[in-house]
C-alpha cells in the first residue's frame, strides 16, 4: 500500500456525508484524544433496532474525517447487530485502502460506532456490546499495517501495541508511539 490517499478517501474528506449532530440522539459515542490528534463522535437515532439516522463530528486528519464519513454511510439503515459486524477492515476497504500509518483511523471509526451503541444499550439497561477500552483505536494496527506494509522499509511496520503504563491513562498506545515519544529514539520527518 502506498502512502497516498485514494480517490475515495479524498472524496469523503472533501465531501463528507452525514456531518453534524442529532439533538435527540439515542446513542452518542466519542473516542480518541486531541493529544494524539484525533477525536471522533458518532450520534445514532434508532427506529426499533434499526439505525434510522447517524451523524458524526471529527477532529483529525484527512483519513480520520474520511473514515468517519464512510462508516456513517455503511451503517445507515442497518440493524445494530449488522452495524456491529463492520470491522476496521471493512471501513478501510470501503475507502479503497488507507496508508499503513493511517490504519488506526479505521479502528477509531469502528470504536466510535461501538461506543455509541454501548451508550444506547446503557440507556436501555443493557450490558455493553463490547469493550471500547480493550478495542480501542490502536487495535489492529499490527496485523493490518504489517500486512499492507510488507514491502516497506520497516519504519512503520509491526507496531506492537501496549497499554499505556501510566495507571490513570485509558489510552492504549502503540509501540511506535512510545518509541517516537522518547526523544532519543525519535524518528522524525524531514522538516
Amino acid at each position: 500500500m502506498s502512502e497516498t490517499y485514494t480517490d475515495q478517501v479524498m472524496d469523503h474528506f472533501m465531501n463528507p456525508r452525514n456531518v453534524g449532530e442529532i439533538a435527540d440522539a439515542d446513542g452518542v459515542g466519542q473516542v480518541g484524544n486531541p493529544v494524539c490528534g484525533d477525536v471522533m463522535r458518532i450520534y445514532l437515532k434508532l427506529d426499533g433496532d434499526r439505525i434510522a439516522d447517524v451523524k458524526f463530528k471529527t477532529f483529525g486528519c484527512g483519513a480520520a474525517i474520511a473514515t468517519s464519513s464512510i462508516i456513517t454511510e455503511l451503517v445507515k439503515g442497518k440493524t445494530i447487530d449488522e452495524a456491529l459486524q463492520i470491522s476496521n477492515r471493512t471501513v478501510a476497504d470501503a475507502l479503497g485502502g488507507l496508508p499503513p500509518r493511517k490504519m488506526h483511523c479505521s479502528n477509531l471509526a469502528a470504536d466510535a460506532l461501538l461506543s455509541a451503541v454501548n451508550d444506547y444499550r446503557a440507556k436501555q439497561g443493557l450490558p455493553p456490546a463490547g469493550e471500547v477500552s480493550e478495542h480501542d483505536h490502536h487495535d489492529g494496527i499490527e496485523d493490518l499495517a504489517a500486512e499492507d506494509d510488507a514491502a516497506e522499509t520497516g519504519r512503520d511496520a509491526a507496531a506492537g501495541e501496549v497499554a499505556c503504563p501510566s495507571a490513570p491513562c485509558t489510552l492504549r498506545v502503540s509501540e511506535r508511539c512510545r518509541q517516537v515519544a522518547a526523544p532519543r529514539r525519535a524518528s522524525k520527518s524531514a522538516e
Partner: protein, 431 residues
C-alpha cells in the same frame, strides 16, 4: 509530508498554484542550472587534477567558496563544502566534540527547538559519553543568552544554537549568544540553513565560530551545503580519505553542486536587502489576514522573525486536514501536526514553546519565496476562510457542539501537562 496528492490535483484551468513551502526546499534558479550543467558537461574535470580540466574545475570551486564566504562575512579559506546542511551540522558538532575530548571537554549546550540534524547529533554524542544541556525557550521561541551563560561549564566543548528556526521562524539572538561564548572561550556554532541569504549575517560581528548553510534553501541544488569554520577552531574530520577541503572533508568535491551553491549564494548576497523587504511585506500581510480568523494564533516571534516565515495555529482543527484542503486549492504548505510527521507527537518546537498538544496539532506553516506574488497572499487568504470554517463545523472540539451525555470533551485543560499518557510524560522529560 509523505502523502503525495498529485493524483488528486484539480486540473481545472482556473486553479492558481501557490507554493508556500520554501523552508522545505526551493526551485533552482535558471542562472544556477546553466552554471551547473556546464560542470557536468564540458568542464567535467576533477579539481584535484593538475591538468587544464582540473584547473578549470578548481577555479570555479574557489570562486564559489569566495561567494559563500562573502554571504556571511568570512574568508574563503574558512569555508568547507559538504553534502548539505545535515552533514555540516554533524561535522561541526561531532567534529568539535571529538577535537576537544582530549582536553577533558565533554559537555555541549544546545536548545530544545533545534532542527533534528542538530538535536539527534547531540543525542548521538550523549550515547557516546558526552553530556548535553538542552536550553528551554520562551513562548516566542527565544533562547535567553543569560541561560547560555549560566549553562557554560569548564568542560563545555561547544554551544550550538540555531539562527532562524525552521518551523516558527524566530530569529535567535545569536550576536548576544556569540558574545557570551567568546567571553568564556567556548566555540559557538549556529545552524543558519533557514536564514542565510534571507537576513544579513556577519560571522565576525556576530561572534560565530562555525556556521551551517545549505544550497537548496536559497534556490541552489539539493545535496550541497557548507560549513564555515573560523580559522583556529579545532575540528576533527568525520570523513577520511584524500586531502580535500583542507583535510576536513575527504572525497572528490561535488563540483556542479558547489558551482550551483556559489552562484545561488552570489545572487542571494546581491539581492538580499530587496528580497528580504519584499518577503517581509507579504509575510506581514499574510499573518495579519490569517489572524483575522477567529481562534487563530501566531507561532513564533512577531518581529524577530525570518522574512519568509508564517506559522499559525487554528484552534479545534488538525493541521493535516488543512494541508489537504489547501492542496486541493493548489496551495502547498506544511504543518507541525503529528499526523504528517510520521509520529504521534506534534512538533517538538511548538511543544517547547509551551503550546498545548491541540494548538500544535492545528499548526500550519507557510513559507514565502521569490516566485510568490502579492496576489498569492490574497488568494491564500480567500481560500483559507472557508477551509477553516468547514473543518471547524466538523470538529467536536469547536464551541457550540452537543456534548455526549455525562462525558467531558477532552479539551486541553482536561489533559494536565505531563500527566497521563506515556506519550506525554516521556516527551516532556528534558531532552
Amino acid at each position: 509530508m509523505n502523502l503525495d496528492q498529485g493524483q488528486h490535483k484539480d486540473t481545472g484551468p482556473s486553479l492558481r498554484r501557490v507554493y508556500l513551502d520554501h523552508a522545505a526546499t526551493t526551485r533552482v534558479r535558471p542562472e544556477v542550472v546553466t552554471a551547473m550543467v556546464n560542470f557536468m558537461g564540458e568542464d567535467f574535470g576533477n579539481p584535484s587534477s593538475i591538468h587544464g580540466w582540473g584547473r578549470v574545475a578548481r577555479e570555479a570551486m574557489e570562486q564559489s567558496r569566495a561567494n559563500v564566504a562573502r554571504l556571511i562575512g568570512a574568508r574563503a579559506t574558512e569555508i568547507i563544502f559538504t553534502s548539505g546542511g545535515t552533514e555540516a551540522d554533524n561535522l561541526a558538532i561531532i567534529g568539535v566534540a571529538m577535537a576537544s575530548r582530549g582536553k577533558g571537554k565533554r559537555h555541549l549546550i544546545t536548545s530544545q527547538i533545534e532542527h533534528h540534524a542538530v538535536l539527534h547529533t547531540c543525542e548521538y554524542l550523549e550515547e557516546h559519553g558526552f553530556e548535553v544541556t538542552y536550553l528551554p525557550v520562551d513562548a516566542d521561541g527565544l533562547v535567553d543568552p543569560q541561560d547560555v551563560a549560566a549553562a557554560i561549564r569548564p568542560d563545555t566543548a561547544l554551544v550550538t544554537i540555531m539562527h532562524g528556526n525552521n518551523e516558527v521562524g524566530t530569529l535567535e539572538p545569536v550576536e548576544d549568544i556569540g558574545l557570551v561564548c567568546r567571553e568564556r572561550g567556548v566555540p559557538f556554532h549556529t545552524d543558519a540553513v533557514q536564514s542565510a541569504g534571507k537576513v544579513p549575517i556577519d560571522v565576525n560581528a556576530m561572534n560565530i565560530d562555525l556556521l551551517t548553510l545549505s544550497a537548496h534553501k536559497m534556490y541552489g541544488p539539493k545535496g550541497v551545503g557548507a560549513l564555515y569554520l573560523r580559522r583556529g577552531t579545532r575540528l576533527e574530520p568525520l570523513q577520511h580519505g584524500g586531502s580535500h577541503e583542507r583535510k576536513m572533508r575527504a572525497g572528490t568535491e561535488n563540483v556542479p553542486g558547489i558551482v550551483g551553491l556559489g552562484v545561488a549564494a552570489g545572487l542571494a548576497y546581491d539581492e538580499l536587502a530587496e528580497t528580504s523587504k519584499t518577503l517581509a511585506a507579504m509575510r506581514d500581510r499574510l499573518i495579519e489576514g490569517l489572524l483575522a480568523l477567529p481562534n487563530t494564533k501566531l507561532n513564533g516571534h512577531r518581529t524577530r522573525r525570518l522574512p519568509h516565515n508564517v506559522n499559525v495555529s487554528f484552534r479545534d482543527i488538525e493541521g493535516e486536514s488543512v494541508l489537504l484542503a489547501l492542496d486541493m486549492n493548489g496551495i502547498a504548505a506544511s504543518t507541525g501536526s503529528a499526523c504528517t510527521s510520521g509520529s504521534l507527537s506534534p512538533s517538538h518546537v511548538l511543544m517547547a514553546m509551551g503550546n498545548t498538544h491541540q494548538d500544535a496539532q492545528g499548526s500550519i506553516r507557510m513559507t514565502l519565496g521569490r516566485d510568490n506574488q502579492p496576489e498569492d497572499v490574497d488568494y491564500v487568504l480567500e481560500r483559507m476562510v472557508p477551509i477553516v470554517e468547514r473543518l471547524r463545523l466538523m470538529s467536536p472540539l469547536a464551541e457550540g457542539t452537543l456534548r455526549p451525555r455525562g462525558e467531558e470533551t477532552p479539551e486541553p485543560a482536561a489533559q494536565p501537562e505531563g500527566s497521563q499518557c506515556a506519550c506525554e510524560t516521556e516527551e516532556e522529560a528534558p531532552k
